[in-house]
Symmetry: C2
Subunit: 375 residues, 2 copies
Amino acid sequence: MSLSFRVAARDGSARTGVLTTPHAAVETPAFLPVGTQGSVKGLDPQELTAMGARMLLANTYHLYLRPGAGVVRRLGGLHRFMQWPGGILTDSGGFQILSLSSLRQVDDQGVVFRSHLDGSLHALTPEGAVAIQEELGADIITVLDECLPYPVEEARAADSVRRTLDWARRCRESHRTDQALFAIVQGAAFPRLRRRCAEELAALDFPGYAVGGLSVGEPKELTWEVLGETTAHLPPEKPRYLMGVGEPADLLAGVATGVDLFDCVLPTRLGRHGMLLTARGRLSVRSARFAQDASPPDPDCGCTVCRRFSRAYLRHLFRSGELLGPRLASQHNVYFLLRLMAQARDAIRAGSLAEFTGSFLARYRENAWRKGCVT
Amino acid sequence: MSLSFRVAARDGSARTGVLTTPHAAVETPAFLPVGTQGSVKGLDPQELTAMGARMLLANTYHLYLRPGAGVVRRLGGLHRFMQWPGGILTDSGGFQILSLSSLRQVDDQGVVFRSHLDGSLHALTPEGAVAIQEELGADIITVLDECLPYPVEEARAADSVRRTLDWARRCRESHRTDQALFAIVQGAAFPRLRRRCAEELAALDFPGYAVGGLSVGEPKELTWEVLGETTAHLPPEKPRYLMGVGEPADLLAGVATGVDLFDCVLPTRLGRHGMLLTARGRLSVRSARFAQDASPPDPDCGCTVCRRFSRAYLRHLFRSGELLGPRLASQHNVYFLLRLMAQARDAIRAGSLAEFTGSFLARYRENAWRKGCVT
C-alpha cells in the first residue's frame, strides 16, 4: 500500500502530521481543493501548487460519466490528464448519485441511477466503483457507500450501515492496485450506528477512513456529536477524512475532533459568486460600497490576488461579467482555506489550537463587513 | 511627449523597431491584446507579461461607462487599477459608439449616444474624449473620430473626413498631459479620401497615426488597397497603428504595408469558443475526433498550455463547461499572435518577410485540421 501517515504532534483530540502518497507529502490537517470534473474551477494546477495545495479531490461520478474512466486511463491517468503533479483522492460516487442523479435504485448488489447529463442508465457495484477509480488512478480511492439524506429513520440507517460494511468488504476484496483504499463511515445522525460502523471498519484495517453522510442538512451540534463518536472509534494511527466540509468554522471543529483531511467546493463556488472568505467574515465584493475602495480584498491575506488588486477592481470585474473575477476570487478563497489549515497545524504544534480557534472565530463571526465597520 | 519610436530595419514597406512609452519598450510590429473593460478576458496580467505582451489596448467607451473614468483616476489610473505594468493604448470610443450604442447622433460638435448598458444618454466631444483618456491615464491616447459603416457614399465619407480632421485639431488643442496623442485616419474605402486625410493629419505632426474604419465589412482587397494608400502618405518616422485587426493573414498583410501596431479581440473571443489559432489553421478543440487525442493542442507551439495539456483535456474542459477551458484557449491564442509578430520582426531583420509570410500562409490556409489529415 503506497501510503504512510505519521502523527507528529497532538493537541487534545487534534493532531498534525504528514500523509505521504506516491505523488505528495501532505501536511495534515489539510484542505483538499475540489477538481470536480478534473479541474479546480477556474484555476491552473500551477497556481494550486504555488499556493501550497498538495492534494486535490476529484469526483468519480463526474469523471466516469464524462469523459469516461477508460478515456482518462488511456490518456495516462488523472494526474497526467489534468496535469496535476500532487496527490489526488477520488470519492466513490455515492454522494453524487444521491444528490445529482434521478431514478436511483439501491439494493445489496449496488446502485442503478440515471446520469444527470443525458438520462442514460448506469449500474454501479462496489467492485465497479473500485475498478473505475483504478482506471482514474488517484493516490487514494474510496469504497462505494450509501449516503443517506437527513432526516432518516434509524432502521433504514442501520440497514444502510450493514450494506456499507458489506460493500466495504467487497471493495477491499476486488481492489488490486497499490492505491490506498479508504473506507467510509456512515450511520446517518445516529451516534450508536456511527460507532458500530467505525468499529467494524476499523477491524478490517483500511489504510484510512473517510466520514461520509455528514453536513447533509442536520443541525451543526449533531454533526459534531456524531463526528466525535466516529473519530473516537477509529484507529488513531490512521488518517481520517471528513467529506464535503469546508466552512472555516467547520474545518476548525473537524480539526479539533481529530480529522486530518477535508474537501469542499465552497471556496470556488463562493468565488464564482463574488464572495470572499476573509479573516473578518465573508465579504461580498459586488457590494456598491467597494466601488471606489482601493484596499486589498482581504487586508490580512498575502495571496497573489490580495497583494495586487483592489476591492474596487474585483467589484468592477464581477459587475462587468469578466472571467477574471471568478478566477481571482476562487484563487483567494482556496488560498484562504489552505492558510487556515497551515495556521491550525502551527497551533496544534504549539498546543494552542483552542486559543487560535477561539480568536479566529470571534473575528470571523463578528463579520465586520456586514456591519460596514471596516474601511 | 513621452514617446519615442526608432525604426531599426526595413524590408520593403515593412519595418521593425522599438516604440518606447513611460511603461514599455515595445518591439514593433506588435500585437496588442485587448482588455476591453480593463481585463484581457480570462487572463492575469502576470501571464501576459510572461508571454511577452508589452502593451495592451483598453476601450475608452467601456471604461467611461463602467466603472467611470473618474473612478479609474481616483484609484490611481488604469495601470494601477488593472495591475498592468506595461504600456496601455486607449481608443477614443468612436468605434464602440458606432457598433454598440443606439440612438447615435453625430454633428460637428460631437456625438450623442445611448449607453448599451442602461440606455442612459451621453454626449461626447473631441475635448471630452481627450479628458476621459487623460483620466484613464494610458501611455497612448487617440483622437475622437467618426467611424463609418461599409458601404457608404463618397460625399458622406468626405464630410466625415472633414469632421475627423477638425476633431483631431480640437483634440490636440485641448490635450494637456504628456500622454502621446495619436491621430486616426478615416476616409472609408476611398483611397483618395484616405490619402487626403493622411496628408492633412501628417501636417499636424502627431506623435503617431492610427488607421481606423477598416475591417468593417469591406472586401479584403479593398482593405489592403486603402491601407497602402494611407500608410504611403503617413510620415515614415512615426508609428502606425491599424485598429481592430488580428487575423494572422491580416496581421502579416498589415506588417507588409508598414503597420507597426495592431489590436484585436480575436484571440480571446475565439478562445472562449474553443477555437485555437495554430500554424496549421484554426482548430476547433470541441471536435469529437480529439476526444482521446493526447497530442498538444498545437504541436508547433511552445506556450505554457501546449507544453502541458492535451487536446483531449481541452475538449473535456469545453464540453464540461469548465472555466479553465476558455482561459487556456485564450492564453494559447494570445501567445500565438505575439509569437507570429516576433517571427515577422525576425523576418524583417533578415529581409525575408515575403518568404516567411508565404510559407506561413500556405500552411495556415491549408487548414490541415479541417481536412482531418493531422494526427
